[in-house]
Symmetry: C2
Subunit: 330 residues, 2 copies
């Protein structure tokens, strides 16, 4: 008879700008119970944690009480793993003006170890724990959403750097001259081209500067979104395909530079853009092969996240919980 582990679950919290989604997860990545609260309905972090605790109580009871919980992992914007804080998060009312010790507050309320990191790092650990990176020691996760995020794993460990903020690959410079302006205040960043807004902007630029026929010409240019591009591409739209070719070409070039850094066995892509499938993945692979240094050719796999889209963020966050458990109780 195989004995049940004493604490078979971790709590994952996907803390987004609108919703905070909680899940209780087992070691296989099965979500046993979920709940959610609004992220923004509270003036202070204490009120937020109070509301979260109240909502969590119910699902914790569902799985047998807090004694069944090993730890909690949080994926959040502007999170610092070393300090357990959210720092100056512009889109969260109770965290936009300072440094909020969120891990410590949850730890006090729940009585279990709590770790926090940014969404892309959470996705990387989620992939390593439950997804396509199981067994991998060296890979790079790229999240293609509103922004371009990254989580880097080297020697089986997430790279946090000296300050907890390493892995900002959306902000390597891809165009040193006449680069697009980026939300970070600089120009030419990967994110300015390969995020959802970057993709929409590329579409607008191609509409304005080429005569390629496209169903996107029927839309108001300023209102075109990456979703419109995706739908058009799915219908065989020539211009939309060129948008993906351009985006994939740049991602491939960027990955070639990343290979020179850490020579990963895989690049794993996550987020809305990956829904385009081969339309985006093939240009990435082609561009990578063309641009990467000879010694790295053919070594890296290009994969799409293996985590279920709707629950991927909660799973990623929960995976940090297993990780901290190892650090704290080993």
């Amino acid at each position: 008879m195989i004995s049940q582990p004493l604490k078979p679950y971790v709590i994952g919290l996907d803390l987004g700008g609108t919703n905070s989604v909680f899940g209780i997860v087992d070691s296989r990545g099965d979500i046993k119970a979920t709940t959610a609260i609004k992220t923004q309905g509270y003036l202070t972090v204490e009120e937020y944690v109070d509301a979260a605790f109240e909502a969590l109580q119910i699902i914790i009871d569902q799985v047998g009480g807090i004694d069944k919980i090993k730890a909690m992992g949080i994926g959040a914007p502007n999170a610092n793993y070393y300090k357990g804080t959210i720092e100056y998060a512009p889109n969260i009312v109770w965290a936009h003006e300072g440094i909020v010790p969120l891990a410590e507050l949850f730890k006090k309320r729940l009585g279990v170890p709590v770790a926090i990191t940014n969404d892309a790092n959470a996705a990387a650990i989620g992939e390593m724990t439950y997804g396509v990176a199981r067994g991998m020691k060296n890979f790079i996760m790229l999240t293609l959403g509103t922004g371009v995020g990254s989580g880097i794993v080297i020697n089986g460990q997430l790279v946090y750097g000296c300050d907890g903020f390493a892995g900002e690959l959306g902000h390597v410079i891809m165009r040193r001259e006449n680069g697009r302006s980026c939300g970070c205040g600089r120009t030419g960043c990967l994110e300015a081209y390969c995020s959802a807004t970057g993709v929409a902007r590329t579409a607008r630029e191609l509409l304005a500067t080429t005569n390629t026929p496209s169903s996107l010409r029927e839309l108001e240019p300023e209102k075109i979104t990456s979703l419109d591009v995706s739908i058009a591409a799915g219908q065989g739209d020539e211009l939309a395909k060129k948008v993906y070719d351009f985006t994939g070409e740049m991602l491939g070039e960027a990955c070639a530079d990343f290979a020179a850094f850490s020579s990963p066995e895989a690049f794993i892509f996550f987020g809305g853009l990956t829904k385009a499938g081969d339309l985006i993945m093939n240009p990435i692979k082609k561009s990578y092969d063309e641009h990467v240094l000879n010694i790295f050719k053919g070594k890296a796999q290009f994969l799409v996240s293996g985590l279920d889209g709707s629950s991927a963020a909660v799973l990623g966050a929960s995976a940090i919980g297993w990780d901290i458990q190892d650090d704290v109780n080993a």
Copy 2:
């Protein structure tokens, strides 16, 4: 009374294109004995190892025999740490056509653990063991010589990647259009601008495209070397200073991208170019501050190697010996 460790020394081998220099080193980085053989005087790796063994016998006896030796570390071009091999090294007659198991061969002859890695990785471990990176867990070593090499340390470990070849930062692309051709067969690599040959080429370009007065105009353009540029800059030559400004500007931009990857606490520079001191280091720091993502500003130190130039390569190689000892006998 503090007892003497049983095996207080490691052997370091700096395997260069011309000379192979051996040193027996203690844990403080003091070189107790040295010897050398010609790298190229042998047709096969077996002959090379025989000659090396013969030369080593003498200095091993000087320090009390092989029982005093913990391990051997080798710094060599085209070295693969995981496999213990030198692979297709174009400038070594006995290794340019295949894969040579150098670590295994030395291990058999000496009876001690042997590890091998490339020069820049050896320099990074040397810096961490005896130099300015003592106590650091996250830093990037950049070696500015004939080429631009790098050794990356993350979480206190050297980054080897999935194949042993990670850390080729000389080959990130700095100019995606109209870039200089690089020895790797591509264009626009950092190395094409910031190596010794890159610096000389920058000088030739500035001589041809500007009217800046310069003592370098008295030389035949094709014969100008980075040493000429260094001497001229030391004498206050305006054009030579502009060469360093350009080189430093690009190195600073590159380091800003590297920060987005691993957020190191320091960038450490090694090699001929660092002899220019502030003339090169100040432009690097200025450019880095201008280009780095806001959250990383002011966090990284910019340091010049703390290892004695003439013996740095041997010290670096020897440091790998301490490292493998930890892996093998822990």
